[in-house]
């Protein structure tokens, strides 16, 4: 860390990452555009058919059909449709929702997005900290013996996807506990805040949000921290054998100091990149957890859209979530050289 030579991150690195980000978003957008076109059935017809079979008469069905046909583009040449689509999707214009016609899809998404983002940031940060700390302590030779037994047995949870842990927690803490203890003390079944509180920047609302968010967050944290723990364990074992750790010990530095400044600091770096590999699964997991807990986020929006066959919403939600995922990977990539000077040096050398 000899000062951040020449003002931090090298340009080629940033451009490289930016290109990957743009390609990711472009491929995702293209896939979402191509897939319905490959389908042997006309999604617009299917959607209306399902809606009609559900409710006998669909109010304003001509309008919806026209709107859908325009979106799936039947009047323009194919390349023109594609360009128009790219333009509209980049301006976050996903058309109108068929299920709650004529609300714009974008409006539905902006309502749901803060909930998903909040829940995700919170659980990812907590998971990352807990997971890496446990992984480090699993290897550290001064960890009490008890922990060396307890931590590995906690790894069992790692195997279970968040949707199953969500089901179990929901059953245990919202249903069973209520029955056993009498009443209303335990966690709520559905929603992201109570029906009797007004959304706003009040303490009451914040309490309600925390109360409703605990179980969903817990079911994600419980089953995802193990990924980081296992990764950290492997890395710590590798670091443990390094010469500089032995030298630090020989110098008589405090064990705690060696743990944080020499071992964890080096082992944590690949963990940050592992984040990029894991985020796709995290996002999917959270969407399903939201569905289980009827949390008012993107997951519930998506699930409702699937039930209603509301294709524009499905498209919009998928695109926004993929955009979010790609953006967070991009941000992690940008932060990475700041904590690992070797990236800066290697790219400088290559240049």
């Amino acid at each position: 860390m000899s000062g951040s030579s020449g003002g931090g991150i090298p340009k080629e690195y940033v451009i490289n990452r930016l290109i990957t980000f743009v390609i990711t978003v472009w491929i995702a957008a293209t896939l979402i555009w191509i897939i319905p076109r490959l389908s042997p059935v006309d999604p617009a017809e299917v959607m209306l058919g399902r809606m009609a079979s559900g409710g006998a008469f669909v109010e304003g069905s001509d309008q919806i059909l026209a709107q859908l046909r325009e979106r799936f583009g039947l009047n323009e040449p194919l390349w023109m449709q594609y360009l128009l689509y790219l333009r509209s999707i980049l301006t976050f214009d996903f058309g109108l929702s068929a299920a709650s016609f004529p609300t714009p899809v974008a409006a539905l998404i902006w309502q749901a997005l803060p909930w998903t983002l909040g829940l995700m940031l919170l659980s990812v940060i907590i998971t990352f900290i807990i997971g890496n700390a446990l992984g480090a302590f699993m290897v550290w030779e001064r960890t009490p013996k008890v922990w060396k037994v307890v931590i590995p047995s906690m790894m069992i949870f790692t195997a279970i996807p968040p949707i199953l842990s969500g089901l179990l927690l929901l059953y245990l803490f919202s249903i069973k506990m209520r029955q056993w203890t009498g009443n209303e003390f335990f966690f709520p079944l559905t929603g992201s805040y109570g029906l009797n509180v007004e959304p706003g920047w009040t303490l009451e609302f914040a309490q309600s949000v925390a109360y409703h968010g605990t179980l969903p967050a817990l079911s994600i944290i419980l089953v995802t921290f193990g990924f980081w723990t296992l990764g950290m364990r492997g890395l710590m074992i590798t670091v443990q054998g390094e010469d500089y750790v032995n030298l630090a010990k020989a110098k008589g530095l405090k064990p705690r100091y060696i743990l944080y400044k020499y071992m964890v600091r080096n082992a944590i770096l690949p963990q940050v990149t592992a984040f990029a590999l894991k985020i796709g699964l995290l996002v999917s997991g959270q969407i399903l957890v939201e569905r289980i807990f009827s949390y008012n986020g993107m997951g519930k929006l998506l699930y409702d859209a699937i039930l209603d066959q509301d294709f524009s919403v499905i498209q919009g939600v998928s695109f926004i979530i993929i955009l979010m995922t790609a953006a967070s990977v991009f941000i992690v990539d940008l932060i990475y050289p700041l904590i690992d000077p070797r990236i800066r040096q290697s790219t400088e050398k290559a240049a």
Binding site: I23, T24, I27, A28, I35, P36, L38, S39, V41, M138, V139, M155, I156, A159, I160, P161, I163, L164, L167, L168, L170, Y171, I175, L189, L230, G231, R233, G234, L235, I237, T238, Q240, G241, P270, T273, A274, A276, L277, G280, L281, V283, S284, G285, I287, L288, R291, L302, Y303, I306, L307, Q309, F311, I314, V317, S318, I321, I322, T325, A326, D333
Partner: protein, 320 residues
């Protein structure tokens, strides 16, 4: 993005094995260098549980009446033997694991659904794996433009959450078959093997024995599959198992959202039906609980296999 995220390379770990032996051999000599690393307890347990589930599925098809998976073939909402439901009915020996809200026998559902779920995972992972081996070797060995394209493509595709693209796909296409579903999921299973193998091939390409083989005039094919491949076997197995897990998680996720095969019983589909019929609130715990528990056991077994394989490929992990 460092390609070798959680996998220190082969040569480095075997070289420094000797150093590791000295300080941290706390396991009471359970592993010494003459033990067969493939016989570690995690691997054995994991494989046995998985085999048990598969065998039970196969035997079950013969000894149990699988026609009971059809709607209305049994009384509704009967609990497993030894329990009572809210109406005070006890379990019946004919339907030992209870029945669901649409008159299907849970035992039959599990017997038919479990192999289906495992099959989706295995097929998706196999296709993804083969693609990954091919692309990874090409990228690492040919290099240049090919490498750039493959690297960027796998970097890009690893970021996109499979669930979302598949949701778009299935809501556009409607019903899909089991095989179709596996193939679709396989489209998202090739990235991590590709990256893993590419990284390993890049580091192995410079090693002594590969140089030796090149000098002695061995063909590229022979070097790739005769010389390098055997060293990658534990990694390949590990990656395969990890992919099976991911594929099953994705499949179950889709099924729980109400997508996936509509008429074929799978574990995820049973859970979807249960949640949608309010089984949680009606206290029909066996309806969603049994498939959940079975899936959990399956995932734990897969994890154990994966941890066991990690110990095979990274000797340092054995000592802690």
């Amino acid at each position: 993005m460092a390609d070798t995220a959680n996998t220190p390379n082969v040569t480095a770990t075997t070289d420094s094995e000797a150093a590791g032996v000295v300080d941290t051999s706390t396991a009471g000599g359970r592993f010494n260098r003459f033990d067969n690393p493939w016989l570690n307890p995690k691997l054995i347990w994991g494989v046995s549980i998985l085999l048990f589930i598969i065998v039970m599925g196969m035997i079950g098809q013969f000894i149990w009446n699988t026609d009971l998976v059809f709607t209305g073939s049994t009384p509704l909402k009967l609990p497993p033997v030894g329990f009572e439901n809210l109406r005070g009915q006890g379990g019946v020996g004919d339907y030992p694991m209870g029945t669901d809200g649409a008159g299907r026998d849970l035992m039959a559902l599990l017997i038919v659904g479990t192999p289906n779920t495992l099959m989706i995972g295995a097929i998706a992972s196999l296709i993804g794996m083969s693609t990954g081996i091919f692309l990874g070797f090409s990228a690492g060995f040919i290099g240049g433009r090919t490498d750039d394209v493959i690297r960027i493509l796998s970097d890009v595709m690893i970021t996109i959450p499979p669930l979302l693209i598949l949701v778009v796909f299935q809501s556009a296409f409607g019903d899909v078959s089991l095989i179709m579903m596996s193939v679709l999921i396989a489209g998202f299973m090739w990235q991590s093997p590709t990256r893993l193998i590419r990284a390993q091939v890049l580091s192995m390409r410079e090693s002594g024995y590969v140089k030796m083989a090149q000098l002695s005039g061995a063909s590229t094919m022979h070097i790739m599959f005769g010389e390098m491949m055997p060293n990658l076997v534990p990694y390949l197995f590990g990656s395969f198992i990890a992919n099976v897990t991911t594929a099953i998680v994705t499949a179950v996720g889709l099924e729980v959202l109400g997508l996936g095969p509509q008429r074929i019983p799978t574990l995820g589909r049973v859970i979807y039906d249960a949640i949608n019929s309010g089984a949680l609130i009606q206290n029909l715990w066996w309806w969603w609980g049994l498939p959940t528990a079975l899936l959990a056991i399956m995932f734990i077994a897969l994890l154990l296999v994966n941890l066991g394989l990690d110990e095979v490929s990274n000797p340092r992990l054995r000592k802690v």
